[in-house]
């Protein structure tokens, strides 16, 4: 078996401000093979984006990462500035949530893509790089690419802009693509198109994709495996089927129950149902206690009792469906009761 494209071991990311240190990502381990998509799911502040940024070493000031990150054989956390520059945009690239702010307002679309080409191969002439840009825009489905390279970001529609951002990220054929909420800023029909495009290009290039999302709908249509983060910790990891059909963590179950479904009526025998929200707000990372971070919001914590408050659960192996691969959950409960009861 070839080495995985992405390997993360015991990743911790902490922020220091005003003398206080808070871990925003704790003990994260994950590996991802070429051609596969791992979705990282969680609510705001769960550490999804920071994990993605840590992989590219694009952390904001005041943040530091420990552990081990290997991308296409390159140690990212110990790499020096030159090595990082070589990796970024070539081995690993990123698609951002907001395509408007991810593109420089002062450069035309072609300049962005050409820059990505020339930064990694200075021997390419400006002209040839522009030609690559046209090719790439054509590949991501932008009509009249020769004309589009000269347009500026503000002259594009949201969907077109996101296509351009994808073209920019993929022009050097990265082994790993980090897609940080790539469809959140788009409307639903365009969302589907962009996801399909990403899937298609992934197959063509055989790259691994880390799909960061809070939307179970997006995850369901694009991911192979799912990693659920809560308060910077791994709550559950498993194949898409296991996560969807037999979640082993109450948080995952809660997220599932909070996702609108087109077939909801069939599930409940035609009875009208309301979406269930997870009560409470995410735990503050600063005053995290010794126990399970989800315990204050968990409907099942009473059943376990004391243990949830004093001891943080470690990820343990859970049953999988046929051909499901690894299934891990960090919960003191061995088995979850049926979905309905979990969400109270």
């Amino acid at each position: 078996m070839p080495d995985p494209v992405l390997q993360v071991e015991d990743l911790c990311v902490s922020f220091t401000s005003g003398g206080v240190t808070a871990d925003v990502v704790r003990d994260l381990s994950v590996s991802l093979d070429g051609g596969r998509t791992l979705a990282v799911v969680g609510e705001s502040g769960s550490g999804k984006t920071i994990t993605g940024r840590a992989i590219m070493r694009l952390l904001p000031r005041g943040a530091s990462a420990r552990g081990r990150i290997v991308v296409a054989g390159r140690e990212m956390l110990s790499a020096d500035e030159r090595e990082l520059r070589r990796a970024r945009g070539s081995d690993v690239a990123m698609v951002f949530q907001d395509s408007m702010s991810a593109l420089s307002p002062y450069l035309d679309i072609g300049a962005h893509i050409a820059q990505a080409v020339r930064l990694h191969d200075p021997s390419v002439t400006r002209r040839a790089a522009r030609a690559r840009a046209v090719e790439m825009l054509d590949r991501v489905g932008i009509p009249e690419p020769a004309d589009a390279v000269r347009r500026f970001p503000h002259e594009f529609s949201g969907g077109m802009r996101q296509r351009a951002v994808i073209a920019m990220a993929l022009v050097n054929r990265p082994a790993l693509l980090i897609a940080d909420e790539p469809t959140t800023a788009l409307d639903v029909t365009v969302q589907a198109q962009i996801l399909a495009l990403l899937r298609e290009l992934q197959q063509e290039y055989g790259m691994a994709m880390l799909l960061i999302s809070h939307d179970f709908g997006v995850v369901g249509s694009a991911a192979d495996d799912v990693l659920v983060l809560y308060a910077g910790r791994q709550a559950e990891y498993g194949s898409l089927r296991d996560i969807f059909d037999q979640p082993a963590h109450p948080y995952t179950a809660g997220l599932r129950a909070a996702t609108p479904r087109l077939d909801a009526r069939l599930d409940t025998g035609g009875e009208r149902t309301r979406l269930r929200a997870i009560p409470g707000a995410p735990t503050s990372l600063r005053d995290a206690g010794p126990g399970c971070a989800f315990a204050p919001r968990c409907g099942l914590a009473d059943q376990v009792g004391e243990r949830c408050v004093v001891e943080a659960p470690l990820p343990t192996v859970r049953p999988t469906s046929e051909g499901g691969g690894l299934h891990l959950a960090a919960c003191h409960l061995d088995r979850l009761p049926a979905l309905k009861e979990v969400a109270r």
Binding site: L58, R86, S104, Y106
Partner: protein, 328 residues
Amino acid sequence: MIAYIARRMVTAVFMLLAIAFVTIALFFGASKDPARAMCGKPCPPETRAKVSAYMQTDQSVVWQYTEFVKGLFVGRTYGEGAQQVHCDAPCFGYSFPNRSDVTTLIAERLPVTLSLAFGAAVLCLVVGIGLGALSAIRKGGIVDRFSTGFAMFGLSVPTFLVGLLVVQVFGFMLNALPYSGFVSFSESPTDWAWHLIGPWMVLSFILAAGYIRVTRTQLLNELSADHLVAMTARGASTRQVNRHAVRGVMVPVVAMFALDVTALLGGSVIAERVFSLHGLGDLLLSGVNESDLSIVVGVTLFSAFLIIVGNLIADLLMPLLDPRIRRA
């Protein structure tokens, strides 16, 4: 492009004509009689009326305005016989207290104002952008705290106070700088600069405040902008990213600078007064004090013209710096 500039210039001409009318109307709205200043201490009413007629200030505002506009094209003649004075076209008026036409007066004063504006502009850009950039890069640091305070002070303190303080401290107490006078650049460049350091300091201190603030805010915005993170993610070096960030800062700075420079070129009344420099600001002030209509209108129009041109240049530069600004 050329059509656009031409269109703007035509608008400018009409704007200037309107400004001239308003200035003349306001001048006569004041209760001061220009003839009173010219006719000397004991001023019997008959003499005063004669002087008034000679200076043509006894006529209505509309008459004054039409004469002024006519003078621009064909020149203007005041009085008759031995006392007759003529002002060639384009005539912006004749100043009786100075016994000279206004165009000549402005031309005489212009080098002083130009020198003042040039140095102040350079200094305020260097200090403003420099401090602004440093405080954005090290936000919350010593430089940041100093320059934020500096900017606050510069924005709130009146020019005359800073001017008088500079004269007092550097001129009298330390005896380090000359506190008045002007030496032309062609005469001695070093003396020229030496005499102007004081006023430059004063003006640039006041102006730099704005640049510190704009540069700091804009650079902070840019430095945290996603498109710069994206640029790093593409593999660009910190230097390349920073160079790109500068571009975003330039846009508002250029807009501000175009207006500040043209305002400076129109004369800085207070700074010129404090340092006894005889520039356009000083000319305007003397015109007001002596109720000299021609000078007031002439200098006002000149400043207005500069501001219009400055705006035009800024408008032409903007789309080059920021492609989002496109003219319709």
